[in-house]
């Protein structure tokens, strides 16, 4: 028996974990990332000659719990056809028994890395609004993300914002066929799930039972942290969005006083309202949160904060700075002319 060096053991382990793509249309290119459930590889779709991202379970588990979850993630993505949500292409089982799905290969950066180069607060807030659009769409389709955080948002090479990693998503209600009859693709996508869905349509609760904590500390709502699955709803995602907003509106250069943004009470109030520990005190819908952020961007009063006269004056000044300065300059010149003409 030959001795296996440390290097050989590592190589053996690494190669033994590679997904077996023989018999599929995909050719393995490289490992891209690792998640809680499995690994994402870059692969080439040889039929369509394009690069795709292939997410595969690490293991074909006998009890199929993870397989069920990965399948469900693919089904959620199929349900959510939106420019802000990564589209799924294919789902299946490899020759080695591992479940996989393929999706669009997004060339870009994770939001937490991307914003290091975005120094403008309005630009960051506009990115946030696009995340809100995608999440609001998912909520309209009865899907909660449950793990929203900067690391789960990708910004593509052309500035497109995509919400990724729907592995912890919860389907609140099965989609209504009646609502989507105009969309033949949607009907096809919904068809397979009917046989697998539970009577009440809450598959996630079968997988994510009461008392199970799922999410990311710092971004997960208190009800998620408690494992109080029954209380998890759209407002839980709103909490996470509030935490993302706080992250995006934090100063880009903490150490540099010259680049620090001034304290912004309106934005802080929006973050505070979104991340209230009591869900009832948060925004009722993502659209309410994004409307408040839009109002802030437009220099209008936000619903999260009652303004003082000083705040109002400051806001009006900020919104109409140029006009106010021009009027002030005009008035100053008129006064000066008046003074000089009397001499």
């Amino acid at each position: 028996m030959n001795f296996l060096s440390d290097k050989t053991v590592d190589r053996l382990r690494q190669n033994a974990n590679l997904p077996d793509l023989s018999g599929t249309r995909y050719q393995l290119l490289e490992r891209v990332a690792r998640g809680g459930m499995g690994t994402v590889y870059a692969a080439r779709d040889q039929t369509l000659d394009r690069r795709v991202a292939l997410k595969v379970l690490d293991v074909a588990v006998a009890d199929g719990d993870l397989a069920l979850r990965l399948n469900r993630e693919a089904r959620v993505l199929a349900l959510l056809e939106h420019p802000g949500i990564v589209p799924v292409h294919d789902v299946g089982t490899l020759g080695d028994g591992r479940v996989f799905y393929t999706m669009k290969f997004v060339e870009g950066q994770r939001l937490d890395k991307y914003i290091e180069a975005v120094a403008s607060l309005p630009d960051r807030l506009r990115l946030f609004l696009r995340i809100c659009d995608a999440v609001a769409f998912a909520h309209a389709r009865g899907v909660l993300h449950r793990d929203l955080k900067p690391a789960n948002v990708m910004v593509g090479a052309f500035g497109e914002v995509l919400v990724m990693d729907w592995g912890l998503a919860k389907i609140l209600r099965e989609p209504s066929f009646a609502a989507s009859q105009d969309d033949p693709d949607a009907t096809i996508l919904h068809a397979p799930q009917a046989s697998n869905a539970s009577a009440d349509g809450t598959r996630a609760t079968q997988i994510t039972g009461q008392g199970t904590v799922m999410g990311t500390p710092g971004y997960m709502s208190p009800e998620q942290a408690r494992g109080d699955i029954a209380q998890v709803n759209e407002r839980s995602d709103i909490f996470s969005l509030g935490a993302v907003l706080r992250f995006l509106s934090s100063n880009p250069e903490q150490s540099s006083r010259s680049k620090a943004w001034p304290p912004n009470r309106a934005l802080e109030a929006i973050c505070a309202k979104a991340t209230e520990s009591n869900p009832a005190n948060r925004y009722a819908a993502v659209s309410d949160l994004s409307a408040d952020v839009s109002r802030y961007l437009d220099g209008l009063p936000v619903s999260a904060r009652k303004e003082t006269i000083f705040d109002k004056a400051l806001r009006v000044y900020r919104r109409h700075t140029v006009a106010i300065l021009l009027i002030a300059a005009y008035l100053a010149i008129r006064i000066l002319l008046l003074v000089f003409s009397r001499r």
Partner: protein, 241 residues
């Protein structure tokens, strides 16, 4: 891929069936003798002959004292239990030696200590330093994985030979075992005058079988399904992000 649950060494040891008990010990010897020998050499700083003797006697004592049957999967991993048994055994060696007739009815197995000694030359733990319990655990685990993979490679060699897939094994050997980072599928295809897709398919098959065999061996030396799943993650590095 996790194989279906098989009789593990623990089940076999507790079965009362002499044939199954013998098979269990063979399986255990195969997977653990090298890690145990190297551990005794480094952890207990024993000379070659002394370590060889202790390794032989440890496995003999396992048989005599029915140590496997006493193992409780709910309390620890089998490899942790065995490592602690080795520690306890070495500490009590004098006492054990008095109780045991050396070379008497003790079971001695033909083990290739020379090869193990050669392998120790490249050990990644410095015997001169004072090793921490964590580094010892890590060392034992590393040697245990090496031993498991080496057995699985040998099984795969036999498996390929039985199915007249010697070329597949040679491809696997050259790409996955040679340690040559420069080698590519294209180079192998040119060397064997076959299409690159044949190399891809052969390696996929060999890796799948290697994985299956390794997991099957692992299942046999784990005390419970839970331990098996945990060890499988440890062996294949799935927990390493």
């Amino acid at each position: 891929m996790f194989p279906a649950t098989r009789w593990s060494v623990i089940d076999a040891a507790k079965s009362g069936n002499p044939t199954e008990q013998a098979r269990a010990l063979d399986t255990l010897f195969a997977a653990y003798w090298k890690p145990v020998y190297k551990y005794v050499r480094l952890r207990w700083n024993r000379q070659t002959e002394d370590a060889q003797d202790l390794t032989q006697r440890f496995f003999a004592e396992m048989l005599e004292r029915d140590l496997l049957a006493r193992y409780d999967p709910a309390k620890s991993r089998l490899r942790t239990y065995l490592r602690l048994c080795v520690d306890s055994f070495v500490m009590n060696q004098e006492k054990a030696a008095r109780r045991q007739k050396r070379g008497g009815n003790a079971t001695h197995v033909a083990l290739d200590f020379q090869a193990a000694e050669g392998e120790l030359a490249g050990a990644t733990i410095d015997p001169a330093s004072i090793p921490s319990p964590e580094s010892l655990e890590e060392f034992f685990e590393k040697e245990w994985i090496r031993s498991l993979f080496a057995l699985a490679v040998e099984d795969l060699r036999k498996f390929c030979s039985e199915r007249e897939r010697e070329r597949t094994f040679r491809l696997f050997e050259e790409y996955d075992l040679s340690g040559d980072a420069e080698i590519s599928y294209e180079m192998l295809a040119a060397q064997y005058a076959i299409p690159v897709t044949d190399v891809t398919n052969a390696l996929s098959w060999a890796r799948r079988e290697f994985r299956r065999i390794a997991l099957q061996r692992l299942r046999e030396i784990c005390g419970s399904d839970e331990e098996f799943h945990r060890e499988a993650r440890s062996v294949f590095g799935w927990d390493a992000a």
